[in-house]
Each structure stands twice: as structure tokens, then as C-alpha cells.
């Protein structure tokens, strides 16, 4: 199996309090890896250590290696050879639990991060914006009001905008922190449908709050408890139907 990430002895603490300790695991490059665990189990910290986002939080301390397969080769993102955090975060895109459009227009939400990439061109950026809005099924809904504030969209639309915004940066790895947690069922289903269509193009690592959603989307599962990995499975190793659900519930 090919891997998009190899993690070795990863520990992270904030103000001296351990959030995750000595995690070693490998994440497959195809399909969706789902992280499961109760709140406080270290899922978000683990996810954010893959794009070095923990570092901007005060009191951060970390150790260990995270090797990501980027641009055709494996690189330890915490070593001196690593890309700059700003570049890394473009290549390892993240979508958050609550939709978080920036306080600006729909257009600018997508164009602003793109325009900061050295050598980016205005016309190409506009084309890319249209293309990602079509990928996330938003284009027909927003094409006539691209210059209105993004905050006026519905929650589901905002989350699809956030997904589009990150896809526009053409990342190689996608990190999703409970992307449907704050949405109603219909909006969640739309997002889930888009994620399934993306799973062969990107290495996706996703936190999910629901066992049912995890089983529906995931091809690899990692369970965390108290900052440690307590179990991991690939889809083939799971029992059929209701039993898999029961197994997952027992592990949570």
C-alpha cells in the first residue's frame, strides 16, 4: 500500500499539558482516513500537526517526525528541509468544523489566498475559482452574487465555499475537521457526496463525530483515546453491517 504520511513518535503539548503522545502510524494515500474518538482525545491536535497549524497556538511544544509525501517525494515537515509553513499549509489544505469564510466577498474568499502564491495570474485565478465552485456544486447558486459577503450564504453553502477555497489551492492532502458537524442532514449529505467524489484524487484525513458517517465515507479508521492510538482498521478488516457499527461504538 502507498502512504501519504508516515508519523513517528509524535507528541504535542500545550502549556505543558500533553494533547497527543508518541503517536506512530501511517496514512494511506488513497481513500479517506477517518479519525474517531471522544472529545479531548487529541483528534484535532493530531490533524493540525499534519499542516503545522498547532504552532500558531500559544504554549505549543512538539516532538517527533511527520513525513508527508509531497510533490513526488517524502519530506519531514518538521525538519530543516521542510517547506515553509505557509507553503505547506497550501499543499495540505484544511476545512474546519464550523464554516469559516473570511469577512469578505465570496469571490475574494477564493481569490485572496490564490493571489498570494508567487507567480499566480489574475485570469487563471478567476478560471480556477469557477472550476472549484463547480466541483463543489456552488457555481449555479452563487455565480450572480460573487461579490456579496460570504457570510450571507447558508451554513451548508459556506462550508462548500470553504472546501472550494481549499481545493483552489490545489492541495495534495486534505484535512477535514468534522466538516459536517455544524450542518443539518441535507447539507451534510451534499458535503459527503462531494467528499466521496474527491477521495480518489486526494489523500483525505477526516475527523468524524458519527460512526455512521465514518463507515459510509472511510476506507481506513484510526481510534484515539487520551492522546494515543488505541486501534486502527482498514475497511476490508471490518465485519459486515451492524456489527462494524457495534465494534466502533465499543471503541469510542
Amino acid at each position: 500500500m502507498q502512504y501519504c504520511a508516515k508519523i513517528k513518535d509524535l507528541s504535542v503539548s500545550f502549556h505543558g499539558r500533553k494533547a497527543i503522545s508518541n503517536i506512530s502510524t501511517e496514512l494511506p494515500s488513497c481513500g479517506i482516513t477517518v479519525l474517531l474518538g471522544r472529545s479531548g482525545s487529541g483528534k484535532t491536535t493530531f490533524l493540525r500537526s499534519l499542516n503545522r497549524l498547532n504552532e500558531i497556538i500559544e504554549g505549543y511544544e512538539g516532538s517527533g517526525n511527520v513525513n508527508l509525501f509531497l510533490g513526488g517525494r517524502s519530506r519531514d515537515i518538521y525538519s530543516d528541509d521542510a517547506p515553509e509553513p505557509t507553503e505547506l499549509r497550501r499543499r495540505v489544505g484544511m476545512v474546519f468544523q464550523t464554516p469559516n469564510p473570511l469577512p469578505m466577498s465570496i469571490r475574494r474568499n477564493i481569490i485572496l489566498p490564490l493571489s498570494l502564491i508567487p507567480g499566480s495570474k489574475k485570469t487563471e485565478n478567476e478560471e480556477r475559482m469557477e472550476s472549484v465552485l463547480k466541483t463543489t456544486g456552488l457555481w449555479d447558486e452563487v455565480k450572480d452574487r460573487l461579490d456579496t459577503p460570504a457570510g450571507r450564504l447558508s451554513g451548508g453553502q459556506q462550508q462548500r465555499l470553504c472546501l472550494a477555497r481549499i481545493l483552489a489551492l490545489e492541495p495534495e492532502i486534505l484535512l477535514l475537521d468534522e466538516p459536517t458537524a455544524s450542518l443539518d442532514r441535507r447539507a451534510s449529505e451534499v458535503i459527503e457526496k462531494h467528499l466521496l467524489s474527491l477521495k480518489n484524487k486526494y489523500c483525505i484525513v477526516m475527523i468524524s463525530h458519527s460512526v455512521r458517517q465514518a463507515l459510509k465515507l472511510g476506507s481506513h479508521f484510526i481510534f484515539l483515546r487520551g492522546g494515543n492510538i488505541v486501534a486502527s482498521f482498514s475497511k476490508g478488516e471490518l465485519p459486515e453491517g451492524k456489527e462494524a457499527e457495534n465494534l466502533f461504538n465499543d471503541l469510542l
Binding site: 500558531i56 505557509t86 489566498p113
Partner: protein
């Protein structure tokens, strides 16, 4: 508050109706029954304007330094210094400036040193913390909402400040200028102590000037009566009108930015 408003307005109008030519003239000569306050209106207007412009520019600089362009340690020091500055009584600014800034201006640029320039500098320093704190609270709120999002999109802290926080807090930045203008136009001690108090239309930054506030303070502390007092009510009325207007505009801008 309403009583104060009515009181000042009635007396100011009374004065204006009884001797409009004398009150709205350019000459202040109580012995000759001339009570013109136009030079004072001019002085108040240009002093508060210049002080708030200087103060606003520095306040914006300080706020940007605190929120991204400065190192964490220096930012914290600057922030604390500004907080301490709010607690310093105005008279201390005036007193210290008479001995420190006035000789500097006198020796460096000529004149007596008591001038529009001197008062502008000290007044801008005095209103600086108020403006910084107003901008700071807006920056802080927006920054806390956008910091992680921006970082996750590959923006640096500086880019987030320049491209996300500043444009979003535009209304707050503008309204803090009004806040500073309001405070500057109402201050009495700084212009009295540092602007020279000559009744004239100050044109050069080195000219002495007498503001409306300084005028009220000076006349009240000396013995003149009659129309001279009417002139004070007119002066007070104008000040009240300006500060209320500035306050209303400030609230309107703030109110709209909440939507």
C-alpha cells in the same frame, strides 16, 4: 445633560441675537466692547484637526505594530505603555512639555515655542492611547476570528493583518479618528498651557493661538462681564455642538459596522 444643553443653547442664542456683529468678529478687546471669537473658532478647528490627524496616523502605526509587525515582546511593552498613558493627568503632559518640548521648538524652529505645533504634538500624544485602544479592540476581535483560518490558507500573520483585519475594521479605524477629534476639541489645559493664547488667525505652525476652550478658561479666571460672558456661551455652545455631532457620527459608524 438636557438641562445643560438647553442652558448653553439659550444663552448662546441670546448673546448672538443681542450683539451678533461683535461676537462673530475677529477682534477680542473687552475694553473697546469688541468680543469677536472667530479666531478662537479657527484655532480650535485647526488644532483639533491637526492633533487628530497626527494622533490617528501614529495610532494606526501602533496598532499595526502591536498586531503583527512588531515582535511579541516589544508589542506587549508598547501596549502597556499606552495603557499607562491613559492614566497620566493632562496637566502633567502640559507641565512637562513647557520644560521639554517648548525650548526644543523655540531653539529648533524659532518663535516663542508656545505654538500651534507644540500644542498639536502634545495633544496628539494625549489622544493617542484612546485611539489605539479603540482600534486595538477591533483588531483583536477580528484577528481572533480569522487568525487560524488565514494561517490554514497559507497567509502569514502580517498578510492576515494587511489583507483581512485592516479592511474588515475600516469603519472602526475611521471612527477612532472621530473619537480622537472629539477629545482633542474639548481639551482645555494643553492649548492653554502650550499654544500661546494670542487671539489671532494662526497660519504657520509656529504661530500662537487661542482655542475656544482656552478662551473660556482664561476669561472665567479674570474679571470681565456682560457681553464677554455671552461670548463664552457662544463658545461653549459651539464646542457642545461639535462634540455632540462627532459623537453621533461615531455612533452611526459603529452602529452600521455591527450589522
Amino acid at each position: 445633560m438636557a438641562a445643560l444643553f438647553v442652558f448653553i443653547t439659550v444663552y448662546a442664542l441670546d448673546g448672538l441675537i443681542k450683539s451678533p456683529a461683535s461676537l462673530l468678529g475677529s477682534i477680542w478687546n473687552p475694553e473697546g466692547k469688541e468680543f469677536g471669537i472667530l479666531p478662537m473658532i479657527w484655532a480650535s478647528a485647526i488644532l483639533s484637526l491637526s492633533a487628530s490627524v497626527i494622533g490617528w496616523v501614529f495610532a494606526l502605526g501602533c496598532s499595526c505594530f502591536i498586531h503583527g509587525y512588531g515582535s511579541k515582546r516589544l508589542a506587549r511593552i508598547l501596549s502597556n505603555v499606552l495603557r499607562i498613558m491613559t492614566a497620566i493627568p493632562t496637566v502633567v503632559y502640559g507641565f512637562a512639555s513647557v520644560f521639554l518640548l517648548v525650548p526644543l521648538i523655540r531653539n529648533g524652529f524659532g518663535g516663542s515655542g508656545f505654538s500651534w505645533l507644540t500644542a498639536s504634538i502634545v495633544l496628539s500624544l494625549m489622544i493617542l492611547p484612546t485611539m489605539v485602544l479603540a482600534m486595538d479592540s477591533a483588531f483583536r476581535t477580528i484577528e481572533s476570528e480569522t487568525e487560524i483560518t488565514s494561517a490554514a490558507l497559507g497567509l502569514t500573520k502580517e498578510q492576515n493583518l494587511a489583507l483581512v483585519v485592516l479592511p474588515t475594521s475600516k469603519k472602526w479605524i475611521l471612527s477612532s479618528a472621530l473619537l480622537g477629534f472629539g477629545r482633542a476639541s474639548g481639551d482645555t489645559l494643553i492649548p492653554t498651557m502650550l499654544a500661546g493664547n494670542a487671539v489671532q488667525y494662526a497660519i504657520s505652525p509656529l504661530d500662537a493661538m487661542r482655542t475656544l476652550t482656552a478662551h473660556i478658561g482664561l476669561v472665567l479666571s479674570s474679571d470681565v462681564g456682560g457681553t464677554a460672558y455671552y461670548s463664552l456661551f457662544v463658545a461653549g455652545g459651539i464646542l457642545l455642538f461639535v462634540s455632540v455631532t462627532a459623537n453621533i457620527i461615531f455612533r452611526m459608524i459603529r452602529g452600521r459596522s455591527h450589522e
